[in-house]
């Protein structure tokens, strides 16, 4: 197969995850997959479809509703040479397993002076929309990023999702793999062959010189819509960075960009207080204060839980308009000027606000 062909196939994020799991199971027989609903007809939003049929019941497991216990069992199996991939349909369910994740998975290698290791991937899916509500739509990347010993990633594109999933399974540490549910259907060019991507590197997905937007997960998608429109309608040059990893956090790439642009917006999917956006802003301010022309700005969810009723969620989530508005303000534009208003109007969501934005389905 030529390189050209390898790059042109387009599949969705969720298909890319499934392909990574399948190829890694083929590649390494110590890889096992377990989660509530893994072999059921819905197959974790189709991300585990057909795996049990292909690899058997000794490698692909449904599980009892025992998040903490099974996380512990996965850690124990990992210590003894397996490479488990554990899956939570919602990140909120993983909170039942914080003891095992934080006290054991994250510390086992460290506290026993490097004698054992825990190669474990825990997939957690962040829900949104259609009334997911307070306990089905949290973005808890900052919580996991507090803990030394954990790696935390949240790829945005299908291409990154596959390469980072392969790398996460091969990694000898516990990796928290966060998938935003609204990214699942978005397609991208994804090579058929197995490949790895780093778990510690951000990626510039749109080069620019006026302002830097560093975005996490689904917010990269909203930011890209804003950045393209700002560029085509107003000629504003935004550098958009998809952070991809939360711990380690590639703040160096953002600092390098800010040295060029002097302005920073961080767009996160989480609550504002104590967010990873806050950490990123802190690091930039500490290390590149003199490069900043204006105070950095964070775009996050408000500091209260997600309500369920659509009439309450309509303005809960920041989106492409929020990002474009912030870019204009940080650049000192008069947002009430005609061209700004035209831009913001053009960006306004078309369909129902609690369904994924259909304006853009990839590829990135």
């Amino acid at each position: 197969m030529s390189m050209l062909n390898m790059k042109t196939r387009q599949i969705s994020y969720v298909e890319a995850i499934r392909e990574a799991l399948e190829q890694m199971m083929q590649h390494d027989e110590s890889v096992i997959v377990i989660g509530e609903g893994v072999p059921d007809p819905k197959a974790i939003f189709n991300s585990t479809l057909g795996l049990q049929e292909k690899f058997g019941k000794d490698r692909v497991f449904d599980m009892p509703l025992s998040e903490n216990g099974i996380t512990g069992a996965c850690i124990g199996a990992a210590i003894s040479g397996m490479r488990p991939v554990m899956i939570h349909q919602r990140i909120d369910f993983a909170l039942l397993s914080l003891d095992q994740i934080i006290n054991n998975a994250a510390k086992w290698h460290y506290m026993f002076n490097g004698k054992s290791k825990v190669p474990l991937v825990i997939r957690m899916i962040i829900g949104r929309g259609w009334g997911q509500g307070p306990q089905h739509s949290q973005s808890l990347q900052a919580l996991f990023s507090l803990v030394p010993g954990l790696k935390v990633v949240m790829p945005t594109t299908a291409y990154d999702a596959k390469g980072m999933m392969v790398a996460a399974i091969k990694d000898n540490n516990p990796v928290i793999f966060l998938e935003h549910r609204w990214l699942h259907p978005i397609v991208d060019e994804v090579p058929e062959s197995m490949y790895e991507l780093p778990l510690n590197k951000a990626k510039i997905i749109f080069e620019g010189s006026d302002i830097t937007v560093a975005a996490f997960s689904y917010m990269t998608f909203e930011a890209l819509i804003a950045v393209r429109a700002l560029h085509s309608i107003m000629g504003i040059s935004v550098e958009l960075i998809d952070m991809r990893s939360v711990r380690p956090l590639d703040s160096q790439m953002v600092i390098d960009s800010v040295k060029k642009t002097g302005r920073l917006i961080v767009a996160d999917t989480a609550y504002k207080t104590g967010s990873i956006a806050a950490e990123l802003v802190s690091q930039v301010v500490e290390r590149a204060f003199k490069s900043l022309k204006v105070a950095p700005f964070r775009i996050c969810s408000p500091d209260f839980p997600t309500p369920t009723a659509p009439s309450m969620t309509e303005y809960y989530y920041p989106n492409a308009v929020t990002i474009a508005d912030a870019v204009l303000r940080l650049l000192g534009k008069d947002v009430f000027a005609k061209d700004c208003q035209k831009l913001l109007k053009a960006l306004g969501p078309k369909g129902p606000h609690d369904m994924p934005n259909k304006d853009f389905g990839g590829p990135f």
């Binding site: 903490n68 512990g72 850690i75 124990g76 210590i79 003894s80 040479g81 054991n104 026993f112």
Partner: protein, 320 residues
């Protein structure tokens, strides 16, 4: 019971007792600067189970782990050095008394979050089964731990997948100072395990011969793929929950009870029995004590002479 086994059981119990009494004696010197939970009075469970295992079998434990670790063959020097916070400690000084590990003898790890290692042991047994290995895994925990939800999650999963794991509940009736009847209804712990579909038995945990025979029976069955197994042993904690001393003055248990507890000393009981059956002689016992005392003195000398790790030593191994 043959003479060799009797010797081993007695030697191993005496050795654990002697090591822990030496730790208790030196603890006040403030050189061991970590919480320490002694198993004095409870040695028979660790020894009876460990003697029924192979080196290739795996063991996980909890905060009160010295006995389990030593019975499984864990390095004494590495243990004492760990309590002294020295570089040659089994965790290089990162863990202390509550973090024992010796992978060379299958001692996979002990940690102090109550219930924390129970599912790890299940995972170890799960891996053995998936890898088609013949080793089994043992997990030790107390009656307090049995109240943790994760234990029941672990029992359920182990039973569901018929895992080669032996759950050993050391029931000393206390969680710190709180008696079991203030924490649990009046029902036998092992029958809860049985209700999970797990083969279970219980017995006097201060009778090392009984512990050994029940463990042997369970382990034989586990090796044939008929797991899991659950053994509950009653025993008695002689000293305070944490630390080197007795805490009788706190009067959370009455003196009659304490006297009865100490009267059921596993070491004295087994010594008496072995002497009267002629399988051990007084000189055997004296020789054991002499050998042990030399070994223990050497381990303390080793620890005290060992390097103290610095902050730089604390930096590696955050990630593998």
């Amino acid at each position: 019971m043959n003479q060799h086994l009797v010797y081993q059981l007695q030697y191993s119990m005496l050795r654990i007792r002697s090591i822990e009494e030496s730790l208790a004696k030196r603890y006040a010197e403030q050189e061991m600067r970590c919480p320490m939970h002694l198993c004095i009075g409870q040695e028979a469970i660790a020894v009876g189970v460990a003697e029924a295992l192979l080196v290739s079998d795996k063991m996980y434990s909890n905060h009160r782990a010295h006995g389990h670790y030593l019975a499984k063959g864990g390095s004494l020097n590495a243990m004492v050095a760990e309590l002294y916070g020295r570089a040659s400690g089994c965790c290089g000084g990162r863990g202390g008394s509550m973090h024992m590990i010796d992978l060379d003898v299958g001692f996979m790890g002990a940690t102090p979050i109550v219930g924390g290692t129970v599912p790890l042991a299940v995972g170890s047994a799960w891996a053995s089964k998936l890898q088609k290995k013949t080793d089994i895994t043992v997990i030790f925990f107390g009656d307090g731990c049995f109240e943790e939800g994760v234990v029941h999650e672990s029992l359920n999963f182990a039973a569901l997948h018929h895992l080669p794991i032996l759950f050993v509940c050391e029931n000393n009736d206390f969680s710190v100072y709180t008696r079991r009847n203030e924490r649990q209804p009046d029902r036998p712990i092992h029958q809860i395990a049985a209700a999970h579909g797990i083969k279970s038995a219980h017995g006097d945990g201060n009778d090392v011969e009984l512990v050994f025979s029940l463990a042997t029976k369970a382990i034989k069955d586990l090796r044939m793929g008929n797991g899991p197994w659950f053994l509950e042993f009653s025993t008695y904690r002689w000293r305070e929950h944490c630390g080197p001393d007795y805490d009788d003055h706190l009067q959370y248990r009455n003196l009659d009870e304490i006297d009865r507890g100490r009267a059921s000393c596993p070491i004295q009981q087994f010594e008496k029995k072995s002497l009267s059956s002629g399988l051990l002689s007084r000189s055997d016992i004296e020789n054991m004590k002499k050998d042990i005392s030399i070994e223990v003195e050497k381990s303390f000398a080793f620890a005290l002479a060992d390097r103290k790790p610095t902050l730089d030593d604390a930096k590696p191994y955050v990630y593998a």
